[in-house]
Structure formats: structure tokens, C-alpha cells
């Protein structure tokens, strides 16, 4: 009996042992820094305590109070940056998703050269983000950029500043959509592969038009993929740092001041790491709440159906 028990416990520990290295690194790479950030957010960590950061004086909830004091300059900036980010995320997700879905539907039926078109569609996503952002930066330049040249060539004006003021927001959304929609296209194409072809044939025999086939076959099969896709796109865009940072260098106009850039600027450029960590933590909590709500909603719907 004892032997059996021992053997059972061995079998039980083996998978955990195999997982241990991954777990250790997961802790080192993700969890520990996150806890470190959390700790920092409760400290008054600035240049005076950078070297011996362990001895940074406790700030209690001071950093948080500061960050959410929307009457103060810091809180007001954060709130503005947050709303800019929300609008940016929403627009980017909607357009990327829409374009991805449209393209996936168009390429659902096999035709000559489909492979080529598919590859072409994926180029923006395959391009390194730095290259992509730099190309857009050149294209959006006022005097030498191709966007203004094309606009004035078509008699639609031109001479606009695309990287300054309110236009900067538009430029950011367009660039982000251009970069992200291939991912939506890829995910949705993969999702559509799981629709059995004979289902369409059967529906067609029953007299279903293209819209009905889309509405009653494609959409329900796609739903789980689409839900996860929307969530992932949202998280990516809400956290996006690279694109605004590269498009505008270190001078991000306030209309395009996404929250992650804002956090970076309020901690790294001004040496106020406690405040920056508090803002990051707030951002994390918000995204966590969104994810939990999303999971609750989807699982509730699944249970309901």
C-alpha cells in the first residue's frame, strides 16, 4: 500500500517538476517586476533614492491620490491621456476588426492568386514596427510627405500638418489600424477554416443567400475567435507605446498622448518613479477589470446558451 502511495505521489509531482523552470522564469520575468512596480507605487521614489531605492520613504497612497486628483495638473493630464487612449483603442479595434473581417470574407472562396493576396495583406504585420512607424512618419511629413503630395495632386488640399495638434490623433489611428488589421484578418481567416464547407452547400440548397449564410453560419462559428480577437486587439492598442513614441519621438502632441507614453514621460523624463508606478498600477487595474468583465460576460452568455 505504501509503495502504491509513493508511486502515485511521484506521478503527481512529475508535471510540476517539469513546469518548475518555466514557473521560476515566469516569476522572475513577470511577477517579481510587477510586484516591484506595485511596491514602488507606494514609495516616494525619485532621483534622491535611486541608488538605494530600498530605502525610499513610504508615500502611502500619496502617489495614487496625486494621480487621481483630477483638479490638479497631474491628474487632469492623466485623465485627458486616458480618454485619448480609450478613443484611440476603440477606433483602432473597430476599424482593424472590420477590415480584417471584410478581407477574410473576400478571401474565403478559393480563387487564382488568393495565396498571393493573402501574403500581401500580411505585409504590414510582418514589417518590424520601427520600420513601419518611420515610413509613416516620412509619409505624413508636411512638406516632403507623400500624403500631402497625393492630396494636393488630387486637388483635395494638402499642406496639412498630420503630426501636430488634433491631426496627430487621426494619424495615430490610421497607422495603428494599418498595422493591426492584418492580425485580425489572419485570426478570422483561421477561424473561418473551421466552418465545414458542406454546411454552406446545405444552406445554399435550402435557398440561403450570402447574407444569411454569413449571419447564420459564419458568424456563430466565428464568435469565440472574434471575442478573443477583440479582447487582444483592445489590450494591445490600449497599452501601445511603440507607435506613438516612434511616430512623434519624445514630443508627443497632447491629442495623441496615449497613456503608456504619458506614464513613461511622467516617470522616466521627470525622475518620478513612484508616481509613474502608481499610474501604471491604475492602468493595470483598469485593464484587469476590463478582462474580468469580458470573461464574465462571455462565460455567462455561453452558459445561457
Amino acid at each position: 500500500m505504501a509503495v502504491l502511495h509513493q508511486r502515485r505521489s511521484r506521478a503527481w509531482t512529475a508535471p510540476y517538476l517539469l513546469l518548475a523552470p518555466a514557473l521560476v522564469f515566469e516569476l522572475l520575468v513577470h511577477v517579481v517586476p510587477m510586484l516591484g512596480g506595485l511596491w514602488m507605487s507606494f514609495r516616494e521614489l525619485n532621483q534622491f533614492f535611486l541608488r538605494s531605492w530600498v530605502s525610499a520613504p513610504p508615500a502611502g497612497l500619496g502617489n495614487y491620490r496625486f494621480a487621481v486628483d483630477f483638479d490638479g495638473a497631474v491628474g487632469a493630464e492623466l485623465l485627458r491621456s486616458f480618454s485619448v487612449t480609450a478613443a484611440f483603442s476603440l477606433l483602432t479595434v473597430v476599424f482593424s476588426f472590420g477590415l480584417g473581417l471584410g478581407a477574410a470574407l473576400l478571401l474565403q472562396r478559393p480563387f487564382r492568386g488568393r495565396f498571393l493576396v493573402r501574403g500581401l495583406f500580411l505585409v504590414p504585420y510582418a514589417l518590424p514596427i520601427y520600420t513601419a512607424a518611420m515610413i509613416w512618419k516620412f509619409m505624413l511629413d508636411r512638406s516632403d510627405g507623400v500624403v500631402n503630395a497625393a492630396l494636393s495632386g488630387a486637388g483635395l488640399g494638402g499642406g496639412n500638418f498630420w503630426l501636430l495638434g488634433g491631426n496627430a490623433f487621426l494619424s495615430l489611428v490610421v497607422t495603428a489600424v494599418w498595422r493591426l488589421w492584418p492580425f485580425a484578418f489572419l485570426a478570422l481567416t483561421a477561424g473561418m477554416q473551421s466552418v465545414p464547407g458542406d454546411l454552406y452547400d446545405a444552406a445554399e440548397c435550402d435557398g440561403a443567400g450570402p447574407w444569411q449564410r454569413f449571419r447564420f453560419i459564419t458568424l456563430p462559428v466565428l464568435r469565440p475567435v472574434a471575442q478573443v480577437l477583440a479582447l487582444v486587439l483592445f489590450l494591445w492598442t490600449f497599452n501601445d507605446f511603440n507607435l506613438p513614441y516612434m511616430l512623434f519621438d519624445q514630443s508627443v502632441p497632447s491629442a495623441a498622448n496615449l497613456v503608456s507614453v504619458h506614464v513613461y514621460q511622467s516617470s522616466f523624463l521627470t525622475w518620478n518613479f513612484g508616481l509613474g508606478s502608481a499610474m501604471s498600477t491604475l492602468l493595470l487595474l483598469f485593464l484587469l477589470a476590463v478582462v474580468l468583465l469580458f470573461l464574465a460576460a462571455t462565460s455567462w452568455r455561453r452558459r445561457a446558451s
Binding site: P15, L17, P21, F48, R51, R142, S143, F268, W271
Partner: protein
């Protein structure tokens, strides 16, 4: 937790010694990963700032120069040239972790901020004596090494100053025989050289660069008698003098129209220098660090002229006749360096006369020690103009721990004013005051005073 087969019968046939290989595997993976973390370096590690036209060129220059150091002292040096965009973050990382380089270059405007971290070895009197004494260094360069009255956390290495680069050919074509002597003449010349229809402008400024904007706000502020940060360390961004100073700078675009509106998108000096060398702009106000990219361009070197930044005449009440801030790079030794004596030896080598002459010649910057100025490379030509400005007509930016915050807040405010001007919106006294009030709120809000 792990889904297991419900088939209990199979369990009996499982191989027995399952744990030992597992454990072994785990240990091998972990130890292999951790081995990479160990290892003691023997070389002295030096992080250099990018002074020449590229980090690759810098690497070459420094390697050749430091070969002499290694030959003389037997201390091998590992050089890494880091671009200005990354340097501060890398230094902060090194200061926090206590690991990294032994010797680093720092922007001299960061000196007080970095001094506050306590991560650098203070250069007390004894340490300065080993470098030949404090008196060997230019007074101006020494003024930008940390909070006054405390042993500096860094010593000067390269000196730079602002002056106006001008295109001699464009000046000749416009019939301008002598460089302007005061601000009014400067504006007149700039207007004369401006022809928007042919995309020709009198002047170019990197209007989207917050550091450059902050330098100009500071510099024009000194000329107007404005102190953005007063003696007690309080921010005074919205004093009438400060507003007038910033307005005079932004008006170059908004009201005088001698700067291309597109410059509101220009975020770096090399980019602005490109507009200068391509003939688009006839003048450029920049530090001598802009020289390498200018000389690397197609513009004939004999067409590049330099004159000191003209002052308003008469100076506004309380104003100082200052034409440049004290620019440049300092060199510092990390307190956590296990090779402090060797590190100090390297600093001594870098500030020695011969090295100062060699390196500053290669980079187009200025020596920071007086004894290097008898070299003809610095006593003649354009370099002499920059050298005189640095030594005699300069003022250091506020040496306060929050200096970087001053640069980000005021610099960004000026950038937004340029953006307004570029898009044809009004930029008068009221808008400038509002932008500066905003910057002041942020400076105070973020913990400044």
C-alpha cells in the same frame, strides 16, 4: 490540477524512476540559465556619449585614442558608445542596479539631477588635484558639474556653446556683407533671406525638440532677466520677463515668419542642420556639436560661417548679455565600480591635454581645460568663436536636481506654441503665458517647488 488519465490500470505500468530524471532536467535547465548571469569582467567598462556624426565613428575615434591609455597603464577598456536618446535610461538602470559601467559620460545639464542620486563618486579637492587642480578647467565648464558648493559628481569632458551658423553664399547673394550685430539686425537679415514662395527661409529651429526649446527658453530668459527657477529653487515660469523671452523665440515663426512652419515638426538638431545644408534655411542656431553633420554634408565647408547669437539692443531691464548656455558632456565614475582607482586613471587620461586636443578635434567640440587652447585647432576659425562664447559669454542652466523636469515641462510648452504657430493660430502674450502657466503647474504638481 493536471488532467490525468482515468484509466487506473495504466498507472501500474508507469516506469518507476520518474523523478530523478525530472529533477535532473530541472536542475540542468536552471543552472544553464543562471550560469549566464555570473562571470566577472576584468576590463574597465566605459559608456561614451555620441559626440561625432555616428556611434560607429565615435567607436573608432575612441578605440584609437584609448589604445594609448591601455598601452601606458595596462588597463584594457571596453568602450560602448550610446546614443543620447538611450544614455539617460541606461545610466538610471546602472545607478539603480549597481552594476554596469565604471565610467560614463553624462549630459552636463543632468549633472545636478544625477548628483542627487548619490550613484557617482564625488570629485573632492584631492580628486581634482589628481586631475591637475580645479583651476585647470574652464570656469564655465566647471559651473555645470553639479549643485554649487558641493563636490561635483562629474568633471567636464567636452564643451559646446550656441552660435549662429550661416550660409555665406546665401548672404553674398542677398548682398549682406557683415553678420548682424543685434537682434533687430538679425531679424532684418532673416527677413531679407526669407522667400516662402521659393521655400527659402532665413532661419531653421528644431521646434519639436523639447531639450532645444528648453535651452532657448533659458537662454532668451537670461537675456530678459528672467529666472525660471529662482535662488530658493521656486519656479517662476510666468514672470513677465519669462513670457517675453519665450514669446521672442516663438515669434520667429508666428509673427516674423522667418522660420518655416514645418520646423514645428523638426525634432532634432541634425534634422534642422539638414535644412541648413540643403540651402532651405540660411541660418541655424545650434551648438558646435552640429558641426560634424554639417561638414559631412554636400555643403562646401568654406560656405559655413559662424557668428555669436545677437543680443537685443538695448538689453531688457535686468537682462544679462549671455549668448549661450554652458553645453557639453561631463564624465563621471560610478560609486559601485569595483575598479575605482583605474576608473579615476581613465578620467585623468580623458582630461589630459593631449587627449582633450585629439578628441575635441575629432568631434568638433571644445576642450574643457585651459592648457588645450594653445592648439591652433581651437584658437582659430569657427572653433575660436565657439570657444570664446563658452568661456566668456555663457551661463549654466539651473543646477537643481529637478533640471530635467524644467526641460520637459517648459520644452514641451514651447513645442506646443510652435505647433499653434505652424497651424496659423494666434500666439501672443496671453497664449505664451498660458502655456508657461501649464508647464509651471506640471513642474510643481510633479513634486517640484
Amino acid at each position: 490540477m493536471f488532467p490525468r488519465s482515468r484509466n487506473g490500470g495504466a498507472r501500474a505500468r508507469e516506469p518507476r524512476p520518474v523523478r530523478a530524471p525530472c529533477l535532473l532536467l530541472v536542475l540542468v535547465v536552471l543552472s544553464a540559465a543562471l550560469v549566464g548571469c555570473g562571470g566577472q569582467q576584468r576590463k574597465l567598462v566605459y559608456w561614451a556619449s555620441n559626440q561625432g556624426s555616428s556611434t560607429a565613428q565615435d567607436q573608432q575615434v575612441l578605440r584609437a585614442e584609448l589604445a594609448r591609455f591601455t598601452a601606458r597603464t595596462g588597463i584594457p577598456v571596453e568602450i560602448e558608445v550610446i546614443s543620447w536618446n538611450d544614455l539617460l535610461n541606461r545610466i538610471l538602470g546602472a545607478a539603480t542596479s549597481g552594476t554596469g559601467p565604471d565610467v560614463v559620460n553624462v549630459g552636463n545639464t543632468w549633472s545636478a539631477s544625477l548628483q542627487a542620486t548619490g550613484a557617482f563618486v564625488p570629485f573632492d579637492a584631492a580628486a581634482m588635484d589628481r586631475l591637475g587642480g580645479r583651476g585647470r578647467f574652464l570656469e564655465a565648464a566647471m559651473s555645470s558639474t553639479g549643485v554649487p558648493g558641493r563636490p561635483p559628481a562629474a568633471v567636464p569632458l567636452y564643451g559646446t556653446s550656441y552660435a549662429v551658423f550661416y550660409d555665406k553664399r546665401r548672404f553674398r547673394e542677398a548682398g549682406i556683407t557683415a553678420p548682424p550685430r543685434d537682434w533687430a539686425e538679425f531679424l532684418a537679415v532673416a527677413r531679407k533671406l526669407t522667400d516662402p514662395a521659393h521655400d527659402r527661409f532665413g532661419l531653421t529651429v528644431p521646434g519639436a525638440s523639447y531639450t532645444e526649446n528648453a535651452h532657448f527658453a533659458f537662454l532668451f530668459g537670461v537675456q530678459h532677466g528672467a529666472h525660471f527657477v529662482d535662488q530658493q529653487g521656486h519656479t517662476r515660469f510666468t514672470s513677465p520677463a519669462a513670457v517675453a523671452a519665450v514669446q521672442r523665440y516663438v515669434e520667429l515663426m508666428s509673427c516674423q515668419h522667418v522660420v518655416r512652419p514645418d520646423d514645428a515638426e523638426v525634432s532634432s538638431v541634425p534634422e534642422a542642420a539638414g535644412d541648413f545644408t540643403s540651402g532651405r534655411a540660411a541660418m541655424l542656431i545650434a551648438q558646435n556639436s552640429a558641426l560634424p553633420p554639417i561638414l559631412d554634408s554636400d555643403m562646401p565647408a568654406e560656405d559655413v560661417g559662424v557668428f555669436p547669437l545677437p543680443l537685443p539692443n538695448p538689453l531688457p531691464p535686468g537682462g544679462n548679455p549671455v549668448r549661450t548656455h554652458v553645453g557639453g558632456s561631463n564624465v563621471a565614475v560610478l560609486r559601485d565600480s569595483p575598479r575605482r582607482a583605474e576608473a579615476m586613471e581613465l578620467v585623468r587620461f580623458l582630461t589630459s591635454r593631449r587627449t582633450q586636443v585629439d578628441l575635441n578635434r575629432a568631434y568638433g567640440s571644445l576642450p574643457v581645460v585651459k592648457d588645450a587652447y594653445d592648439d591652433p585647432a581651437f584658437s582659430t576659425g569657427n572653433a575660436a568663436v565657439f570657444g570664446r562664447l563658452l568661456a566668456q559669454e555663457s551661463a549654466p542652466v539651473p543646477m537643481i536636481p529637478d533640471e530635467s523636469r524644467f526641460e520637459t515641462t517648459v520644452g514641451a510648452g514651447v513645442r506646443d506654441l510652435f505647433a499653434r504657430a505652424a497651424m496659423g493660430q494666434r500666439v501672443d502674450r496671453e497664449q505664451v503665458r498660458e502655456a508657461l502657466a501649464d508647464a509651471e503647474q506640471q513642474m510643481r504638481g510633479a513634486g517640484g517647488s
